[in-house]
């Protein structure tokens, strides 16, 4: 589907692949914390299982039913935050959100710039505001999981 694909930086190959064949899908047998996200508007759902090691995210798996944006966002989030401290993960979350909404309040020079890496494939959502919540859903679930954990 050349024309459509070319026209559509939004559906980066990476997003489509991770939606189809996620690397971090599944459940963990003994998670320390769990989180859920649900968007009643479109039926998107995600569940997170997380194993902590001190402040660090030792392992993370997601169980996602939803659109490609949501599914890929969950998988790429899991990949990105694995090994992070909780505080680092939450900082990524803020940075990710700022990228999506194109926030002008984003500090231009950050003391400790938080790299987004592969998560930058979601940047084109800026012009599809109605889909931003799809990419955010896993991050909402992550925040929920950490809501009882000190950073």
């Amino acid at each position: 589907m050349n024309t459509t694909a070319e026209r559509d930086a939004l559906y980066d190959r990476l997003i489509v692949e991770r939606a189809r064949a996620p690397l971090y899908a599944g459940r963990l047998s003994a998670p320390d914390v769990q989180g859920d996200g649900r968007n009643p508007l479109c039926g998107d759902k995600t569940h997170l299982d997380i194993v902590l090691n001190g402040h660090h995210i030792q392992d993370i798996r997601h169980n996602t039913r939803g659109c490609a944006i949501c599914a890929a966002a969950a998988d790429l989030m899991a990949e990105h935050v694995r090994g992070n401290t909780v505080a680092q993960a939450l900082a990524v979350s803020d940075r990710f959100r700022a990228m999506l909404v194109g926030s002008p309040s984003l500090p231009v020079v950050e003391a400790q710039p938080v790299p987004l890496g592969a998560l930058e494939v979601f940047a084109p959502l800026q012009s599809h505001k109605a889909r931003i919540r799809c990419a955010e859903l896993p991050w909402i679930a992550l925040k929920e999981a950490f809501s009882h954990v000190d950073g």
Binding site: T4, Y11, C42
Partner: protein, 417 residues
Amino acid sequence: MSTHTSTTHAHAQLDVQAIRQQFPILGEKVHDRPLVFLDSAASAQKPNAVIDSMASTMRHQYANIHRGLHWMSERTTEAYEGVRDLVADFLNAPSREEIVFTRNSTEAINLVAHSFGALLKPGQAVLISQMEHHANLVPWQMLRDRAGIDLRVAPITDDGDLDMDAYTALLADGKVALVSMTHMSNVLGTITPAKQIADIAHAAGALVLFDGSQSVVHHKTDVQELGADFYTFTGHKLYGPTGIGVLWARRDLLEQMPPFLGGGDMISTVTFERSTWANIPHKFEAGTPAIVETIGLGAAIDWVSKIGFDAIAAHEAELTAHALTRLATVPGLSIVGHPRVRGGVVSFTMADVHPHDIATLLDRNGIAIRAGHHCAEPLMRRLGLSATARASFGIYTQKEEIDVLADTLVRIRDFFV
């Protein structure tokens, strides 16, 4: 599944190109592609006739209505009240006093739930169907919780038709005071057998309201022939302005019903102790109405009537048949709903591609469709789906646009599989 419509003169032909010329927005580009607008069931685009009538009212002949003694006010009042005649004619209502202007269909149904609802007693019931838009569900839930009435839901068949036996059975105990049902589903396209629904309701002592939001757009509506007691529709789906809708109700019902909103224009006399109400329909129109929008609705009705429902229905039946044929060739695509009689709305899903991804990818190609629960969550649950993609057709839709849709869907599917 047939794509039957009530048209009798199939030879009535639409000049779609000439019609498209009258919709400036159809010349716009989206993501550098010509706009293919297949979302008319959400809200239709507006012809110049409507836009110009509104602009010209504001430019040349505008003032507040009813209470003014000066020329601008009298002329504007005439224009506004003239639309009441037009709407009465459009629905073949027995009298102009039975036409109440509201913001939209939603407000019209809320008005009935509030004011007719005030006449109901605990233990009486309202009966809706499984395929209602939230607009014809939530107001009745709120009434149920407020007034202790019962809310019953008539099931649909797997094809997406009202289950007539179950419907009849739900009326059997004689407790249903009102059947409130869609005249056309905004998800399945189903055109419900309104006359039969009304006859069965009346035989069981129930009144009947039809939500005509989708159906008035596609074929001629005759509230007397249907045997309706209430009928609602919304201007913005009928190529008219936003902010204007219509409730039609039988005179004796409107006369019994207490008012809905209080304020100017709906009163006869006011003292601090008590107020008395104006005659119908004014009793139900409090405050300064959507004057310019009402005039714009008049222009839309004029415009649609000039084209004629024979031609419109024939055109849309052809489009719908074409869409069903073409979409059947898209790998992995399933049509949602196979009703006996349908209007120009087609819902579908695609294996392995979420409806939201379909909608966004179509949009990148300039094609506007809708995806989601279409304000019909309980219907989605009945269908075992969380969302569908929906293409819907209007007067200005061209067969070629449906071809573009089908071709693009094939490419989207390739992309994902």
